[in-house]
Each structure stands twice: as C-alpha cells, then as structure tokens.
C-alpha cells in the first residue's frame, strides 16, 4: 500500500472518529433536553388542569360580589339619598366620594355634604337615627362643632346628663349566676307570671283566672 493510501485511511478514520465523538455527546445533550422537556410538559399539564376551573369560579365570585355591591349601593342611596350617600362615603374614605357609586352614573360629581368630616361614625349614626338630635340640626356647611378626635364626648352628650357627670349614681348592673347575692327559686310554672306588675297585680292568680294573661 502506498503512502497516499495510508494517509487517506488515517484521514477517514480521523473524520469518522470526530463524527462519532461529537455525535455521541450531542446525543447525550439531546437526551438530557428530552428529559427536561418531559418534566416541563408534565408540570405544564398540571398547571392546565389546576387552572381549568379558575375562570368559572372567578366569574361566579365576581357575579356574587357585583350583586352585593349593587344591593348595598341601592340600599345606601335609598336610605340616605345620593348626596348624603356620597358624603358618607367621602367622610369614611376621604377622596372615595369622587369615584361615585357604580350603579349611579354621575354620582361622583355630586357636591357631597361634610358629613363625617366633623362627626365620627358613631355620632353620625346616632344623629341619623335620632333626627331630632341637636348635632343633626347644625348646618353641614357651618364650622366644626367639636374636635373630631374627641368624638366620644359628643356621642355621650346625646345621653341623659346623669350618665355623664354622676355615673356612680346610676343603679348597678344586676349580678347573675350561681354566686349572685340574690338567688331565686326555680319557677314551678316557667314562662307564666305569678302576678302582673302595677296596680293590677294580684297575689293569687288562681283566684283571678283572667290575670294569667301575662305569658312571657
């Protein structure tokens, strides 16, 4: 065999060896890629399965919340009117009144009264429940009647004066329980008064059958 033939064989062997070496390592790398993709596909499949019901559930939750918001807004506007409702919202959450009510377009442009700017929520509630209360008579556009940080004092002012200055004069709350100083015998006829209070009271209800009308 000539020298050129030997060199040819050596060259071919080198090329084949290079091909084999690189291709083997390429196969190894591709195998690792395949394993990684298998793991990825499995995880993505789990993600798809887990997120499948999310859309319907979130839609249902949003529907429920929408209904709740509509009901509460409708109730607030029905009871307080749009202007006072915006004033209440703006007083409790400053700046929120400008957003208005969702179901009442244009309500955000309402000029809201200064409701909770002066009064705390407790005072406001009392004022609105008792519309004759003095604090409800003040104009919301007038000066502040008191320091808002001392809201409890204004709320107390709505109660009788005895409670403010001489609370020790007020009767004590009754003590109940097994350790109570006054123990009562169990009633033989629970739910039925033995005697009616006031002038119509009788000692023996059996003598007056019509006096047994005081069923509790």
């Amino acid at each position: 065999m000539s020298g050129a033939g030997v060199v040819l064989i050596v060259a071919v062997v080198l090329i084949v060896a290079a091909l084999a070496w690189y291709l083997i390592w390429t196969i190894v790398a591709l195998a690792r890629i395949t394993k990684g993709l298998d793991r990825t596909i499995a995880a993505v499949g789990e993600i798809i399965d887990k997120t499948a019901p999310v859309g319907a559930v979130v839609t249902t939750i949003n529907t429920s919340l929408d209904a709740g918001v509509s009901a509460l807004e409708g109730l607030l506007v029905k009871k307080a009117g749009v202007s006072d409702a915006i004033g209440l919202i703006d007083g409790l959450y400053p700046g929120a009144g400008a957003d208005g009510l969702r179901d009442f377009p244009g309500s955000g442009e309402t000029t809201a009264p200064r409701i909770a700017e002066v009064y705390t929520r407790g005072v406001l509630t009392l004022a609105r429940l008792g519309r004759e209360a003095p604090i409800a008579a003040a104009s919301p556009n007038g000066p502040a009647l008191r320091d808002p940080s001392r809201g409890a004092g204004a709320a107390m002012g709505l109660y009788p004066e005895l409670r403010q200055s001489r609370p020790q004069k007020m009767p004590r709350s009754p003590v109940i329980g097994t350790d109570a100083p006054v123990q009562y015998e169990p009633s033989e006829s629970p739910g039925v008064r033995r005697r009616m209070p006031g002038a119509a009271a009788v000692l023996d209800p059996e003598a007056r059958p019509d006096a047994d009308a005081g069923t509790v």
Partner: protein, 89 residues
C-alpha cells in the same frame, strides 16, 4: 499519485476541520439548551406547586356566596327598619 496526495491534503486540511467545526457548533448549541430546559422545567414545577391553592377558590366561591347572602339579609332588615331618604324629606 499526485492526485491522491492532493486529495489526502484536502481531506485532512479542509474537510476534517470543517467537519469538526460544524459538529462542535452543534454540540455547543445542544449543550446550551440543557440549562435553559432545566430552568424552564423547574419554573413549571414551581408554578404547578404554587397553583395547589386554586382548589381553595371553590371555598372562596362558597364563602363569597354566603357572605353576599348574609349582606342581602342584613340589607333587607335595614330596609325595613330605616326610613327611606325621600320618605324623611
């Protein structure tokens, strides 16, 4: 004979380097994909694990419905005990 030597020279000096260069490029590209696939796989597994809490959405849905029902009952009661704004004014 001279052509054989020229062929050998071309094979060793041109073909073999080109083959090695190309195969090395393929191997380098394949190896560069492996870390990316591993990272994607890890992220997908972590994402799937994070979504385990989606089952709780069913509880949230039920709780939201109950809450709204309670709010509706409360609002209905308020509607009864409080005067309407137009009725007061």
């Amino acid at each position: 004979m001279t052509l054989y030597w020229i062929g050998d020279a071309v094979l060793l000096l041109v073909v073999l380097p080109v083959v090695v260069y190309l195969l090395h490029g393929v191997l380098r590209a394949a190896r560069s994909i492996v870390p990316s696939v591993d990272a994607i796989s890890a992220a997908a597994v972590a994402g799937s694990k994070d979504l385990d809490a989606t089952a709780l959405l069913l509880t949230t849905q039920d709780q939201a419905a109950r809450t709204i029902a309670g709010v509706a009952k409360y609002g209905g009661s308020l509607d009864v005990i409080l005067d309407d704004a137009d009725a007061v004014s």
